[in-house]
């Protein structure tokens, strides 16, 4: 039988899904903090096909988690289609949106759209370096120290 598939289709895609990038970044935070604070990626179970803006097939919450405290903070939410990009960011935090220069309100979801991996990583870097992210990580570290005294 003739093989009609393109020759460059192999067992590996050569692509990295946005969720894999998020998980790597979450683990890196753990390395920095001796796993006291980690970045946790939580799949969000949403129905597809409802024509709602959150319901792309792949949806995840990115949480900053204090492992010893049993505490998690949902920093942002992403949703993306089977084609991996664009990735839609949802950040329901006026201060953080303002700090990042994202638009507010009804148009915000359209505005926070990463069209490729480079842009996705760029947004992640900006979010991770924001005052809000730093404040939460510091607070979890401080609270953990307090709890273990």
């Amino acid at each position: 039988m003739d093989d009609l598939w393109p020759k460059d289709i192999k067992g590996e895609s050569g692509l990295k899904a946005p969720v894999a990038i998020l998980r790597e970044q979450g683990a890196l935070l753990g390395e920095r903090t001796k796993n006291i604070v980690i970045g946790e990626v939580r799949p969000v179970n949403l129905p597809t096909g409802l024509n709602l803006r959150l319901t792309h097939p792949f949806s995840y919450d990115f949480c900053i988690k204090g492992t010893a405290l049993g505490y998690s903070y949902s920093l942002f939410f992403i949703s993306y289609p089977i084609t991996l990009y664009p990735v839609f960011f949802i950040i329901d935090d006026d201060d953080l949106n303002k700090e990042l220069g994202f638009e507010h309100g009804r148009t915000s979801l359209k505005a926070i759209k990463a069209i490729n991996e480079e842009k996705f990583k760029d947004y992640l870097k900006r979010i991770f370096n924001s005052e809000k992210s730093r404040r939460i990580i510091s607070a979890i570290l401080a609270q953990t120290e307090q709890s273990t005294i």
Binding site: R42, L52, R53, G70, Y71, Y73, D92, L109, I136
Partner: protein, 270 residues
């Protein structure tokens, strides 16, 4: 009996009203949205006559402020978003519960589909925390910026919040093979004039064709596991702090003096 009070303060300095509420209604847990009063200042007010209240700081949530009549160690924070804080209430000798408090995005910033979508997400977050603590004795309270009949509240994948105890007592319902746990939403009982209190919690007179005037945006949802802990009339929409009225001469929230929302008070026998 534990007494809870939720109030959207509309960023007003309502210290004396809050102090009156504490004294007149014996409140154990205060939960505020849009609280612009500094916690230390409010704590001084609450504890002016006797030191009874503690401030329960959040870690990441900026939209909710909580004060309790017991140490914040007994109301540990489990999960937060900017608008939601989920606490584990572990009072000695009583059943532990999850207390989720939130302030939803309002209709001037989020359209109906966006609000509905957010309900799906918050519902999913709550279920995950329930899995972590291995029970679903959960109360969800706050300013939903939606009425009890809107899609996000009633949708199975949203809060799945039903108006009758009998239905809620069935614990869950199945849609397309998926089981969805119920919340009981007692706020359906508080619409209109044939109620013991005001016709709603929020009054909004719009110059559009569709307008309800009175809305119940401030709600308490309860998982069926907690139904044995509530009496028939366990909720009150308060139209005064027990001393001063919150209503104008037209009988609507007097937003020039107090908040545009009325507080809700509820009691649980844990």
């Amino acid at each position: 009996m534990i007494t809870f009070l939720f109030w959207n303060l509309d960023k007003k300095s309502l210290k004396s009203n809050i102090k009156n509420l504490a004294g007149n209604f014996d409140v154990d847990i205060f939960m505020f949205a849009e609280c612009a009063i500094s916690p230390d200042i409010l704590l001084r007010t609450l504890n002016e006559d006797s030191v009874s209240y503690y401030y329960c700081p959040n870690i990441g949530c900026q939209k909710i402020t909580i004060f309790t009549r017991f140490s914040s160690d007994l109301l540990k924070v489990k999960m937060e978003t900017n608008r939601l804080t989920i606490r584990h209430l572990t009072l000695p000798g009583l059943r532990d519960i999850l207390l989720a408090v939130m302030h939803f995005p309002d209709k001037s910033h989020w359209n109906d589909p966006s609000q509905t979508s957010e309900c799906y997400r918050i519902s999913d977050i709550i279920k995950k925390v329930e899995q972590e603590v291995s029970h679903s004795r959960t109360i969800l309270v706050g300013d939903f910026n939606m009425n009890p009949f809107e899609h996000g509240l009633v949708s199975a994948i949203g809060f799945n919040a039903v108006m009758s105890r009998g239905t809620a007592n069935k614990k869950n319902r199945t849609v397309q093979g998926e089981k969805y746990p119920f919340f009981y939403n007692p706020m359906w009982n508080y619409f209109g004039d044939e109620t013991p209190g005001p016709p709603g919690t929020y009054y909004y007179n719009v110059s559009e064709h569709i307008g309800y005037f009175w809305n119940i945006f401030d709600q308490v949802l309860i998982r069926p596991e907690l139904l044995p802990c509530i009496d028939k009339n366990f909720i009150q929409i308060l139209d005064s702090d027990g001393t001063k009225s919150f209503l104008s001469s037209q009988g609507v929230p007097n937003s020039s003096i107090v908040s545009d929302h009325l507080p809700i008070l509820f009691k649980l026998n844990l």
